[in-house]
Structures are given as structure tokens and as C-alpha cells.
């Protein structure tokens, strides 16, 4: 908006569209003329694909990885599950009180 160059560029695009070029042809012509920075997103293939793949890979790794990690933790814990203390019985009440006191004094 308010760009001194955009009117001219839009005019060029309209000319190309009017000349009957397909969308991909207009796109190639436009990016060849002004360079890849004119494209709104990295869509040239090659290394540009990394821009799209990496977030997806991180997303999948984060979700699947966390799920797997939690499952592994749970499996490891299962043999000792019987040893889980019952609150109010096995926990040392003095220790618990001391911890509560510590964490609430401020």
C-alpha cells in the first residue's frame, strides 16, 4: 500500500496475464526479472523445500517423540509400581511439612 513501485509492477503483471501466459509462466517471468525476493514464500524447490519440511519435521518429532518418551518412562516405572507410596502413610510427614514451609515462605 502506498508503494511507489507497486502500481508499475501490477501493470506489468496485468500485461503478462493479458498476453495469455499461464500462471506459472507469469510467475517465472516475474521472479526472473526481480529476483527470488519478489516471491512471497520460498517455492523454487531445492533448498527452499527445507523451509517447509523443517517445521513439519520438528512438529512430528516433538509430538511423536514426547509420546514415545512418556511411554518409555511408564514402562520403566511399571516394575516398581507396587512401591509407590501412599500419601499420608509412607511419606515422612516432617519432611513434607518442612518442604511446604520452605516453599511457602516469601
Amino acid at each position: 500500500m502506498g508503494c511507489p513501485d507497486s502500481d508499475r509492477m501490477i501493470g506489468e503483471l496485468r500485461q503478462q496475464v493479458a498476453s495469455g501466459l499461464p500462471d506459472s509462466g507469469v510467475l517465472n517471468w516475474f521472479s526472473a526479472k526481480y529476483g527470488p525476493t519478489i516471491l512471497a514464500a520460498p517455492i523454487r524447490g531445492g533448498f527452499d523445500n527445507a523451509a517447509w519440511i523443517t517445521p513439519l519435521a520438528v512438529f512430528l518429532l516433538a509430538t511423536v517423540g514426547t509420546g514415545v518418551l512418556i511411554s518409555v518412562w511408564l514402562k520403566r516405572r511399571r516394575p516398581g509400581a507396587a512401591l509407590v507410596s501412599i500419601p499420608g502413610h509412607a511419606v515422612d510427614n516432617d519432611d513434607l511439612r518442612e518442604r511446604i514451609r520452605r516453599e511457602t515462605q516469601y
Binding site: M1, G2, P4, P42, G46, P55, I70, R99
Partner: protein, 624 residues
């Protein structure tokens, strides 16, 4: 006094001296702006004599050098406040504030060597400045950057305390109690800043409803991830450790993209903006980040015993797990924005040519992440702490599932049919999923309120409304959280509404009319105006709906004299359900008619802006 005590006192006094020096510097720059001192290069480049008083003041943060100065000043102010408020508390404040002090040294180095705000303009003294960037001559821009900066730097305090507690191996979550008020106030600043910035970007750039996809939004996501972990603390002390790690990672992710700014921000400090960003500065930012990244594994390894949770996750299907997943997804969204911000630099390094990573990238990549987040927002509150039984799942999920099925059917009947949408299939798929999930989440939230209120009603005998009020007052954190969830859902619905946008470009002469959705625009007249700062021409358009006149819109096109730059001022008719957005693109010299672009946006004013999807290119000034 011991040696360490004397050192601490020296640090405190140095902090005060630094704050006084930065305050004087900021005042001097504002003074130079008001007195039109064009011997200062920054003032010459960002102001002019006829600039409005408010914008002369905002010139302080209109360029990179001034932004850095404001940032350093705000950081020092908050740091001093934190030091004062936390004296005598544990963990030791000196240790906690060590990290922000290092960051401050970085900023002061930049201000002194890389981007000095008081550099003298060589050559003869200019009579007038080049003017403020027209995009910044907008009311929101007077207040948006300071709010945002206070939000940014404010979060360094909880982070610093987290780090201090981690380094000193302080037990429990006391650091969170100490910094809770900080977190809330900082959250408020960040929220206000982002809302103002989003509205500015929407009105000026045309795509700002999703400003949250930018680095600033990412900081909000960082903060959201951090804040989101807090409710779990009452149930699992181990989460405190998780949050320390989380905040550390979040800070690492936020640093380079925050400091790198966004290409849409002229006041930002840009890794992507070579003119404003000397190579030295870029190297400095990346080097600093590299050090922090390298230090993270070592630091976490050193503290791994302390980071171990005292409690364990007992089930994959539990509220603790949903918190963990939620925070990881928020961090993934942060990473996506960081990646998008740094990718142009990486591309230049690898391919030798820079690429643009703009709105289409963020819209496409963040949408699946956002939908997963929405899904977790819905199921999280329905899961029990520790472990959820199958019976409980069946009981809690029945109503949301019914709501989702009903909403899916309603959407299909109303015409949201991706399979027959052609080019718009992707947008309609996302809209359909969003509306369906939103119905489920809203039902889940209301069910939670209703269930709690029913229990209170049984106990107290009060009516349902009074019981709900009492319920919320008894547990503000939990039910406040649900209200926040509701807000998030409304935001998602607004974004999904972008699939129904209608856009039309048309030349209009006197008496011409154009139909856009249910609106009819009638061109009344064109007129011109002038003031010392800019010349303007605008159109007067009457807006009708169902034959009844609703309002008159006056979209403008301005020409700023000092900078010799044109700019448009959008005319907006905004309602809760939809917006009418009209841009006046100026008169066509061939026909003498005015060119208008109208955008009719349904459901909220958040803009997915299909215009950008349809145009795979961007024009250099269209979004910058």
C-alpha cells in the same frame, strides 16, 4: 561488609548509573527530535519539521538506533525495579539478574559501536528532515512499540529468576511465586502491544490480523508456553523443573528472531534488512546465540539431577501429559517463526540469493500446529490429573463429540464443502476442521462450568448463575484459564472465517456503485485536502445494506511531502461478525476514475487474506 557484598553494592550502583545515563540519552534524542536538530543523522532520517508532535516523540523508536536505545532503557528500568522488589529474597537477586545484565552489555555495545543513535550527519546542515516512514504515522504506532518492548524485556526477569534458581539448585517452585506478579504485568504489556500492532498491521498492511505469526507473536507464544505450565504446579512439583527448562529453551528461541525483527517493521532491528543491519551486528547476534545454544546442553547436563521431577507422569492420558504436549506445541510454533525469520539469511548463505518468507509461509505452516493446539485446548481440561479412566473419558467426551458432529453437519449444510471448493480446498478444509474443533472446545468449557456450578448449587442451594459466580471466585485460576481458552477459540474462529473473504477491485466514477457480498458501495464524490505534512485525496463512499444506508466511508491516499512517499489510509466498517475494508488506490490517469479495492471479511476481523494465497508474489512495498 564482605567482599561479595561490596561487589553487589557496586553492581547495584552501576545499574542505577546506567539507568540515569540511558534516561538522559533517550531524553536527548527526543529533545533533538522536538528541536529539529538535523545535525543528528537519526533525527534527519526519521523526522521532519511539520511532523505531528506525537510522531516526533515516537521518532525515538522509529529507527533501529532509537529502538535499541528504548529497549535498553526499558530493560534497565525493569531490572532496577526487580532488584529493588526482590532484595533479601531467595534465590539471591544478584545471581538472578546476572543474565539480564549480560544482555544489557550486548545492547550497550550495539548502541556504542554498531548502531549509535547520536551519529553526526556529515556535510552541510539540512533545513528539513527526510520524514517519518508513512507507515508509522498511525496512532497505534505511538504506543505499540513501548508496550511491546516492556513485554519483551519484562519476561527476562522471570527467566532470570528461573536461571538463578536452577544454578543455585533452589528447591521447589518458589521462584515462580516470586515472579508471578511480574509475569502477569509483563503479559499485560505484551498482550496490549500485540493487539495494537495487529490492528495497525490490519489497517495499514492489510494482513496484520495474524501478526501473531511474527517474532512478536512468537514471544507471546513463549510467554504462553511458560504461563501455561504454571497451573500444573499445584499438582506436580516436577513441572517446576520442566518450566525452568522450558523458559530457558523459549528464551533461546526468542533471542535471534526478536532482535532480528520482522521485515514489516521499519522500527525493528533486522537481520533481514541489510541496510539497517551491518554485517558486524548480524555476526554479533548470531555469535551470541551460538554461545547460548552451545551453553544450553552443558548447563542442562550439569543440572540434570536437579531438573529431575520429584513426581512422575503416571499415564499418557492425563492432564499433566496434555500440559506437556501443549507446551511443546507452543515451542514448535516458536521454532517455526524463528525458522521463517532466519531462513532468508540461511538461503543467502546456501544458495547465494535471499528469499522472502512472508505471510503465506506462516499461514500454511502454522495452521496445522494451531489446529493441534486447538485440539489439545479442548481435551486437556477434560482429562483428570495423574490418570484418566476409560469411563471418565466416555463421560467427559460425549457432549463435545456430539457438538462437533452437529457443527460438522451445520458447516457442510451451510456450504463449507472442501471437496467441491476447487482452488480454495485447502482453506475450506482448515475452516471446516477449525469450526468443528471449536464447537467441541466451547462445549467442553461450558460443560466444565456447568458441572462445577451444579455441585456448588447442590451444596449451597443458590441458583445456577450465583453458583457459577461462586465457583469462579473459589477457583479463579482454573476458571480464568477456561475463559482464556474460550478467547483462543474465538480467535481461531476469526482466523477460519478468512475462508469466506470476498475481494473485489473496481474503478468507480461519480455515481457508480459496486456490490460486495451483502454490501453496496455508492461513490458520492472525490475530494482533496492538504496540510504541511501531507497532501491527501479521498473518496466518499456511501455504504448500503438491504437498501438501507449504513455509513459513509472515506478511504484516503496521502502523499507525504518530506519523504516524497505515497501511502493509503484504509476505510473500515467493522462489526462483530464481519468487516468491510476499502482501499482507495488513486485516480486512473487514463479514465479519470478512482480505483478501489474492497475486501469483505466474514466472522471477525482476523484476516487470513486469500489475496496473498492467490498471489504467489509480493510487491516490495505491499507489506513492508
Amino acid at each position: 561488609m564482605t567482599a561479595s557484598g561490596r561487589l553487589g553494592e557496586t553492581a547495584r550502583r552501576a545499574g542505577i548509573a546506567s539507568f540515569i545515563a540511558l534516561s538522559c540519552s533517550a531524553f536527548a534524542l527526543v529533545w533533538a527530535s522536538f528541536t529539529n536538530d538535523y545535525s543528528v543523522a537519526y533525527i534527519l532520517q526519521h523526522t521532519n519539521r511539520d511532523l505531528n508532535t506525537a510522531y516526533k516523540f515516537s521518532a525515538l523508536w522509529s529507527g533501529q538506533e532509537g529502538s535499541l536505545l528504548l529497549w535498553a532503557w526499558a530493560a534497565q528500568l525493569l531490572r532496577l525495579r526487580a532488584a529493588h522488589a526482590s532484595q533479601g529474597r531467595r534465590p539471591p537477586v544478584g545471581l538472578c539478574l546476572d543474565h539480564p545484565c549480560r544482555v544489557q552489555v550486548f545492547f550497550l555495545l550495539l548502541l556504542n559501536f554498531a548502531a549509535p543513535p547520536f551519529a553526526i550527519q556529515p556535510g552541510p546542515l539540512a533545513q528539513d528532515g527526510f520524514g517519518l516512514n508513512p507507515l508509522l504515522q498511525y496512532p497505534e504506532m505511538v504506543i505499540h512499540p513501548p508496550m511491546l518492548y516492556l513485554g519483551y524485556v519484562g519476561f527476562s526477569v522471570p527467566f532470570a529468576f528461573a536461571l538463578g534458581a536452577l544454578m543455585m539448585r533452589y528447591p521447589g517452585e518458589k521462584w515462580i511465586h516470586i515472579t508471578r506478579r511480574w509475569t502477569m504485568v509483563t503479559w499485560l504489556f505484551l498482550t496490549c502491544g500485540i493487539i495494537l500492532g495487529a490492528h495497525w498491521a490490519y489497517s495499514v498492511l492489510g494482513w496484520g490480523g495474524l501478526l501473531g505469526v511474527g517474532p512478536r507473536g512468537k514471544r507471546l507464544a513463549d510467554a504462553l508456553a511458560y504461563r501455561h505450565g504454571l497451573p500444573a504446579l499445584g499438582h506436580d512439583a516436577g513441572e517446576a523443573r520442566h518450566d525452568e527448562g522450558l523458559e530457558r529453551v523459549a528464551d533461546l528461541l526468542h533471542l535471534p528472531s526478536d532482535y532480528s525483527g520482522h521485515p514489516a517493521y521499519p522500527f525493528g532491528t533486522g537481520l533481514q534488512r541489510p541496510r539497517l543491519c551491518p554485517v558486524f551486528y548480524r555476526r554479533l547476534v548470531l555469535r551470541l546465540h551460538h554461545h547460548r545454544l552451545r551453553g544450553l546442553p552443558v548447563h542442562l547436563l550439569q543440572q540434570k539431577d536437579h531438573l529431575k521431577s520429584e513426581n512422575r507422569l503416571e499415564s499418557l492420558v492425563s492432564r499433566e501429559s496434555s500440559f506437556l504436549f501443549n507446551n511443546l506445541i507452543l515451542l514448535t510454533a516458536c521454532f517455526t517463526v524463528l525458522w521463517g525469520t532466519l531462513f532468508p539469511v540461511l538461503s543467502e548463505y546456501v544458495q547465494g540469493s535471499k528469499v522472502t518468507v512472508g505471510a503465506p509461509f506462516y499461514n500454511r505452516v502454522n495452521l496445522p500446529i494451531g489446529l493441534f493446539l486447538l485440539f489439545l485446548t479442548g481435551i486437556g481440561p477434560l482429562l483428570a490429573w495423574r490418570s484418566t479412566s476409560l469411563r471418565s473419558i466416555r463421560r467427559n467426551f460425549v457432549m463435545p463429540c456430539i457438538a462437533m458432529a452437529v457443527m460438522f453437519a451445520v458447516c457442510v449444510i451451510a456450504g463449507v464443502r472442501p471437496w467441491s471448493a476447487g482452488d480454495d480446498m485447502q482453506a475450506e478444509i482448515f475452516s471446516l476442521i477449525t469450526f468443528t474443533l471449536s464447537a467441541g472446545v466451547i462445549t467442553a468449557i461450558f460443560t466444565e462450568f456447568l458441572r462445577g456450578a451444579s455441585v456448588v448449587r447442590t451444596q449451597t442451594g443458590k441458583n445456577l448463575f450465583a453458583s457459577t459466580v461462586l465457583l469462579v471466585r473459589r477457583n479463579t485460576r482454573r476458571y480464568g484459564g477456561y475463559v482464556v481458552h474460550f478467547g483462543i477459540v474465538v480467535m481461531f474462529i476469526g482466523i477460519a472465517g478468512g475462508a469466506f473473504n470476498q475481494s473485489r477491485e473496481q474503478e468507480m466514477g461519480f455515481g457508480d456503485s459496486v456490490q460486495l457480498g451483502s454490501y453496496k458501495l455508492f461513490c458520492q464524490s472525490f475530494t482533496q485536502d492538504s496540510n504541511p505534512n501531507f497532501d491527501t485525496e479521498y473518496a466518499l463512499l456511501d455504504v448500503f445494506r438491504n437498501g438501507k444506508k449504513l455509513t459513509q466511508l472515506a478511504p484516503e491516499r496521502r502523499f507525504y511531502i518530506a519523504s516524497q512517499t505515497p501511502s493509503t489510509m484504509v476505510a473500515l466498517h467493522s462489526t462483530l461478525i464481519e468487516d468491510l475494508y476499502v482501499i482507495y488506490e488513486g485516480k486512473n490517469p487514463d479514465t479519470g476514475k478512482a480505483d478501489h479495492q474492497g475486501l469483505h471479511q466474514s466472522i471477525g476481523e482476523l484476516d487470513l487474506d486469500r489475496r496473498h494465497h492467490r498471489r504467489p508474489w509480493h510487491l516490495p512495498c505491499a507489506g513492508t
